[in-house]
């Protein structure tokens, strides 16, 4: 039920923790509203901060391709992770608008490109690959100690990709994509015949596995990659299918703690247009809408989180990044578009993920 109570609960609790964007977005000029990694026309990589109008406020160079950028709840720090199988992370001071620190993944580990801060901004968590051990990890970094890695939680699966701290502030949800990779074989997926994607829920205090769910039988080649939390507390995920390209499969699913994963049935045109690939999925600021993108399909779809009805379908070439903003969602594309309350076009390729600041 879409009650005002659940809405207030979501916006209030999640936002109070700095975990979900408030409905009041940063709007003062000079204050970043969006962050995204990019590739510029010369082929070099960086991360850019943009204002609400999509104007670039500042950029920082990255040594190679970046992936997601996470922001501390106090909005002081942003961290851009390397794209898999990269090992760098760049910390940006959002107040000073300059890089503050850079650190690397531990020996034998690489980043998957996603993570989050603890509610008190003291700890940073990052999804990592222990590629010799063939297990997924959530590395834990002490912010004040100069991002020293103090430990790691097992994600109880292979290929953890996006990880979220849920609105209760204590439960972590991890999307274990299930695909085994190794830096020695950069182009190869090593276990497609036996892949077993899952969602793991971990305790942030202890790292204990609280619950783990997998996909319905026969769907084990749907790699669960990106996730978001809806206003009713459920987790929505977007997958990438590794089976036959002609299989007509659902790519989006929803999970409520204690239940089974349900796959979302989209109208056939929209399902097919996703081309077996969802690149990003994000909940709106009020938790009532879910937006997903497919760069392969050149498509963004917005669903109602409660009734799962299609609210909007937009054809946008090479769209991948999506982030909540005041008027709904902002999107970014590999062609340089930032489609927000005001659209902007910049001569770069925006990389997979767009982050908005609360």
């Amino acid at each position: 039920m879409a009650t005002d109570l659940t809405r207030r609960h979501f916006a209030g609790l999640c936002a109070a923790l700095g975990l979900a964007p408030l409905s009041t977005f940063a709007s003062a000029s000079g204050v970043p509203s969006f962050l995204s990694a990019y590739r510029d026309p010369a082929g070099t990589f960086g991360v850019a901060a943009l204002d609400e109008a999509g104007t670039v406020l500042f950029t920082e160079a990255l040594p190679a391709r970046g992936h997601d950028t996470v922001v501390s709840p106090d909005q002081r720090w942003a961290v851009t992770f390397a794209r898999r199988p990269g090992r760098f992370a760049l910390v940006i001071d959002l107040h000073r608008q300059e890089p503050a620190f850079a650190f690397e993944a531990a020996p034998g580990r690489h980043f998957y490109g996603h993570g989050f801060f603890s509610p008190d901004a003291r700890l940073l968590y990052a999804t990592e690959n222990d590629y010799e051990g063939e297990r997924g990890l959530l590395g834990i970094y002490d912010v004040a100690g100069g991002y020293v890695r103090t430990g790691a939680f097992e994600t109880h699966g292979i290929g953890p990709h996006e990880a979220l701290l849920l609105c209760d502030g204590t439960t972590i949800a991890v999307a274990n994509g299930g695909i085994l990779t190794h830096p020695d074989f950069p182009r190869q997926k090593l276990n497609l015949a036996s892949m077993a994607p899952s969602i793991s829920y971990l305790s942030r205090e202890t790292g204990d596995l609280l619950e783990q769910v997998s996909l319905p039988a026969g769907m084990n080649q749907l790699s669960i990659r990106h996730m978001t939390q809806a206003g009713d507390g459920s987790i929505w995920f977007g997958g990438q299918y590794e089976g036959a390209p002609t299989d007509a499969v659902a790519l989006v699913g929803r999970h409520q703690r204690g239940g089974e994963i349900t796959l979302i049935s989209l109208p056939e045109d929209e399902r097919a247009a996703l081309r077996q690939y969802v690149g990003s999925i994000k909940s709106s600021a009020d938790g009532e809408q879910i937006a997903m993108t497919s760069p392969r399909g050149g498509l963004a779809i917005i669903l109602g989180a409660q009734n799962q009805a299609v609210l909007d379908v937009r054809a946008v070439a090479d769209v991948c990044g999506v982030a909540p903003e005041r008027s709904g969602f902002a999107f970014s594309t590999g062609r340089g578009d930032i489609l927000a309350s005001r659209n902007a076009l910049i001569d770069v390729s925006w990389d997979n993920h767009l982050r908005s600041l609360a």
């Binding site: 590739r39 992936h67 794209r83 898999r84 490109g113 990709h161 190794h182 020695d184 074989f185 950069p186 182009r187 190869q188 090593l190 497609l192 015949a193 036996s194 990659r225 990438q240 590794e242 089976g243 036959a244 390209p245 002609t246 299989d247 007509a248 097919a272 081309r275 690939y277 690149g279 760069p295 392969r296 050149g298 070439a317 090479d318 769209v319 991948c320 594309t333 590999g334 062609r335 390729s349 925006w350 990389d351 997979n352």
Partner: protein, 357 residues
């Protein structure tokens, strides 16, 4: 005819003024000139492998074993001509992994093969029950071990279980090869899908997408040869080599299979008629690709000619250097096929669409 003319006029109108390449013709050439015949050959040789293995099991002898082993060399070679196709029908029912479970990191697949041989597992001796088991037990690398790994000599002396397993693997390979062939071939098959892109096509909307899939698969194959089959195997010096990381080292088919991989790229380059179908100033790049691929082929052929096993080739100073030198033309071919061709052909796949995560 009038319809055709009208369609042609419309096509002319919609094509921009700059000379556009006939992308569909390149894709058609590669599919009809290489992919379809190569799959037919694979299916045929896989059937021959079943026949010769059957003969060995019913009348074991040194000669029968030698004939089975020799046919396996042919089978690896024809497989290597389609190894680059990791998309399409190969993705259905894990057919790719069923045929070629490699790299086998930590020897997991090998352990399974050794395990079923040691325990005389009866469920691996019929095609149906074998196909229901792990993909690592039923492909070319499993057969490589059964025919050439520890204890293979017993095949000449009537080791019934080992021979029945070899026969079941050959049968499973033949089944999978036939399924791949049909997946490409039949009227609704993948060839038709790649050759009729459009808004209603479930996989390819444009000719550019279909051709990009082929070029990307080719570039990936060259990179896999470079990174995984060459650099990881020959190391930095003769003291730092890892020949066991290469596929088919037991059967001595490592270099012949890489040679066949590269000849397949040359065959695609020719079948796609890139020397004619690239935009004019870029046509010379087809010659560059042909030259680089030819360099790899002649260097590998000279090494194969010596008749030495892979361990000797990688650990002796002279041949180590010759093998390592293949990396240079590999990089050259990779650049032409993976970067120059797509750019010259205007295959403007999106940054995110082409390489997401």
């Amino acid at each position: 005819m009038r319809h055709l003319l009208a369609a042609a006029c419309l096509a002319l109108l919609t094509v921009s003024a700059s000379a556009q390449s006939d992308l569909g013709a390149i894709t058609r050439g590669m599919i009809e000139g290489h992919i379809l015949p190569a799959h037919a050959t694979l299916m045929g040789v896989a059937d021959q492998q079943v026949t010769v293995t059957e003969q060995m099991c019913s009348a074991p002898s040194q000669e029968a074993l030698a004939a089975t082993q020799a046919r396996f060399g042919d089978l690896v070679e024809v497989w290597s001509a389609v190894e680059f196709i990791r998309f399409g029908p190969a993705r259905k029912d894990n057919r790719y992994e069923r045929l070629f479970f490699w790299p086998d990191r930590n020897g997991r697949g090998l352990n399974q093969v050794q395990g079923v041989l040691a325990t005389q597992d009866e469920t691996v001796t019929s095609v149906d029950s074998l196909k229901a088991k792990s993909v690592a037990l039923q492909g070319l690398l499993a057969l490589d071990y059964v025919l050439f790994g520890t204890g293979f000599e017993a095949l000449a002396d009537g080791d019934e279980h080992r021979c029945a397993y070899a026969l079941a693997i050959a049968g499973a390979i033949a089944d999978t090869a036939a399924a791949l062939f049909e997946g490409w071939q039949d009227g609704q098959g993948y060839a038709a899908l790649m050759l009729s892109p459009g808004p209603d096509n479930p996989v390819y909307r444009t000719e550019a997408e279909a051709l990009q899939e082929l070029l990307r698969a080719m570039a990936e194959q060259l990179q896999i040869i470079h990174d995984a089959k060459l650099v990881r195997v020959v190391g930095t010096s003769p003291d730092d080599t890892h020949y066991r990381r290469a596929p088919f080292w037991r059967s001595g088919q490592t270099l012949p299979s890489i040679l066949a991989n590269v000849e397949a790229m040359a065959s695609l380059n020719a079948a796609g008629q890139l020397a004619d179908l690239l935009p004019e100033p870029a046509q010379r790049y087809a010659g560059t690709a042909r030259f680089e691929l030819g360099q790899i082929v002649s260097r590998l052929a000279a090494l194969i000619e010596r008749g030495e096993d892979l361990e000797t080739l990688v650990t002796s100073e002279e041949t180590h250097g010759r093998l390592a030198s293949v990396a240079l033309p590999l990089a050259g071919a990779m650049r032409v096929i993976g970067e120059i061709y797509p750019a010259e052909l205007g295959l403007t796949m999106g940054f995110n669409a082409l390489d997401g995560d």
